[in-house]
């Protein structure tokens, strides 16, 4: 039996789901009020996580480099919201909130959900033994086989072939899982990006490659790493759809990713969804000062005017899901970590993270001897 489905779209054709959709039939238009308010809260949660870690580090309670996802939250929330529990993801350094946002819809606290708990994620950030990786590797280099989160290394784009292999195996097992891989635009220059997307395209695998185009790869602007106007144009070389989403608009991300996911799930193969966004700070917090030199400050100012929280709020008001005082209750947008306070966020968000951090602070370090363990599987 071949696991390669025989049906497929012609090269370069835009996704039928997108081409045929009118404004009213867009997937995001079918979301309920409750869904939309949940999405709004998830944006706050991702933002608060980022701001709070920066504050914790400034207070001296946290060490290590932070790669901020500030301003890129709509990509994580919008891409993950429509996934099934059986789907896989592979986040990278700038996607820390993805670990707890996965499969979190209306069930942030359910221990059986297919996403990490805030306690696990905080234990990892603080380098404690209760981290899913027992603090053996840092920051986003964690995962979970049972929760279907692929464990990355530092090597950029290195998880895309792994993701393709995972869904190849899932197909063999009769599953219908889709995998979302997250990548910076700079990482798409890696040879392994090409090798992996090519493999996925040849086998029509359900791999959706999200490109978070925040315009910068460390100190190198996008045009010096990618020669085409859109990074999504790379899709043409593989005969797969390449979509561009407004990465500041959580509903646009949701629409494009849902179209790509449905395309993938129905056996039509992979696609690339480029989400245009904007990096809020330096590459990592070690780079904040140097970034001011290589990046024009007008660019930062301009970027800040399109805050994903504000854009989501406007959509919710427009659809009548938020009104009056309710809409103006928490104004976290356009505030940097030093400007924002807990009062700018819904209490449910602050309490959730407080719990995670409390847990992490109380979790012990792993024993030194663990450094020599698990090099091989021990056979009894």
């Amino acid at each position: 039996m071949s696991v390669i489905p025989t049906t497929g779209t012609a090269a370069f054709e835009p996704l039928a789901e997108i081409a045929e959709s009118t404004n009213d039939s867009r997937p995001s238009q079918l979301l309920t009020k409750e869904d939309c308010l949940e999405i709004f809260n998830q944006l706050y949660l991702a933002r608060y996580f980022d701001i709070r870690l920066i504050k914790e580090k400034k207070r001296g309670r946290l060490r290590g480099t932070l790669y901020s996802s500030h301003n890129q939250e709509a990509i994580l929330v919008g891409a993950l919201f429509g996934l099934k529990a059986t789907d896989w993801i592979s986040p990278i350094h700038r996607d820390m909130p993805a670990f707890f946002l996965k499969d979190s819809k209306f069930q942030w606290d359910d221990p059986t959900r297919s996403g990490m708990s805030i306690e696990e994620v905080c234990a990892q950030v603080w380098g404690k033994v209760d981290s899913p990786g027992r603090a053996r590797d840092n920051w986003s280099h964690i995962g979970s086989k049972s929760k279907r989160i692929i464990h990355s290394t530092s090597m950029l784009a290195g998880t895309i072939p792994v993701a393709a292999g995972v869904v190849y195996a899932d197909r063999m097992n009769g599953g219908d899982a889709v995998v979302l891989t997250f990548n910076g635009e700079g990482s798409t220059a890696q040879g392994i990006f090409h090798e992996a997307v090519n493999f996925a395209a040849v086998h029509k695998l359900p791999v959706v490659t999200i490109v978070e185009n925040n315009q910068w790869a460390y100190g190198t602007p996008v045009h010096m790493g990618c020669p085409t106007p859109d990074v999504a144009d790379r899709a043409h070389g593989y005969g797969i759809p390449g979509l561009v989403a407004d990465g500041q608009d959580v509903f646009d991300v949701y629409d494009k990713v849902m179209a790509a996911v449905e395309h993938a799930r129905s056996g039509k193969g992979p696609s690339i969804v480029e989400c245009k966004t904007f990096r809020a700070y330096g590459h990592g917090d070690h780079d904040d000062d140097r970034a001011m030199k290589y990046r024009p400050s007008e660019e930062i100012e301009k970027g800040r005017t399109r805050d994903p929280i504000a854009i989501c709020r406007e959509s919710l008001i427009e659809r009548g899901f938020l009104s009056g005082a309710e809409a103006e209750q928490y104004i976290a947008e356009r505030k940097s970590a030093s400007e924002a306070t807990n009062d700018d966020f819904p209490p449910v968000v602050v309490e959730y993270l407080n719990r995670g951090i409390e847990f992490a602070l109380n979790s012990p370090l792993p024993n030194a001897e663990e450094g020599a363990m698990w090099v091989f599987k021990e056979n009894a």
């Binding site: 590797d137 280099h141 790869a217 460390y218 190198t220 030194a368």
Partner: protein, 337 residues
Amino acid sequence: MAAIAAEPTLVKKNYLTALREALIEEMRRNDQMICQGEDIGMLGGAFGVTEGLLDEFGSTRVIDAPIAEAAIIGTAVGMALNGKTVMAEMQFIDFISCGFDQIVNMMATYHYRTAGEVNLPVVVRGPAGGYGGGALYHSQMNEAWFCHSPGLRVVVPSTPYDAKGLLKAALRDGNPCIFFEIKELYRKNEIAEVIPDEDYIVPLGQAVIRKEGTDITFVSYGQSVYHCMSAAAELEKLGVSAEVIDIRTLVPLDEETIYKSLSKTNRVVVVNEAPMTCGFAGEIVARIANNAFNLLDAPPARVTRLDTPVPWVKPLELHVLPSVEKIVRVALQTAKY
């Protein structure tokens, strides 16, 4: 005020500044030289080794490369094939694995398979080493991979003077070279030193004795040299006099300095940060066993990383990496044997 201009500068320079000066001076000396790597131009490099290069030499000779190590190395080979000298930076030496094939199969073998027609002046350099909490992919010492690929020079400087002199020598050598910079030493004030203003090189293939001693010989390179120096100080208190050799270049290796020391001490401990199995310490021990067996009064010993990756958090990292305590312990056993 002009009268004092002739005074030599007695400013101490750190390891990173020494490297940067080597690059700038070589770029000035050789207008056929190119530097390329991720973020080396506008940013000046992740650690700042290439700061100022873009401004002085322009974007044709200082290339901000896409994130693609295989292409960075492979294009460097092509540039060198057509007459250029190339410095290719790996943002961390750990990422060199992404360009592995271009190094070991394309670059390392070029001179050999062309019967000497082609030689490639390419130096692939990058920050290496552990003890900084960098975890699995920002801590590696993977020098053994390249020592095991004939055709490559492999260099690991441990002082600012050597960093500058060896980098210049490597760029002028005409053979491809993998140049390991110890990132924990980049800005370490304790090792800053006055280095000559005049042009100088440190020839490849010459070890140096960092401390003289009579009872036991430490052979090491990179960060381990400092651990050996501290261990030697501890041992001095216990009445054991240790000699410390810094080999500085692994390929080519200065064996003579090692055997000369052994003829005095008759005991040896080899220390490196990389894992034990097939590490360079094992190679040194093997050569001693083959070539200087008669000089030995005790089995040659090794202190290396355990055969594990480098884990992140401190207690784990220190558990697997060599330490002064571990070196002292093994040295005492060897001294008493």
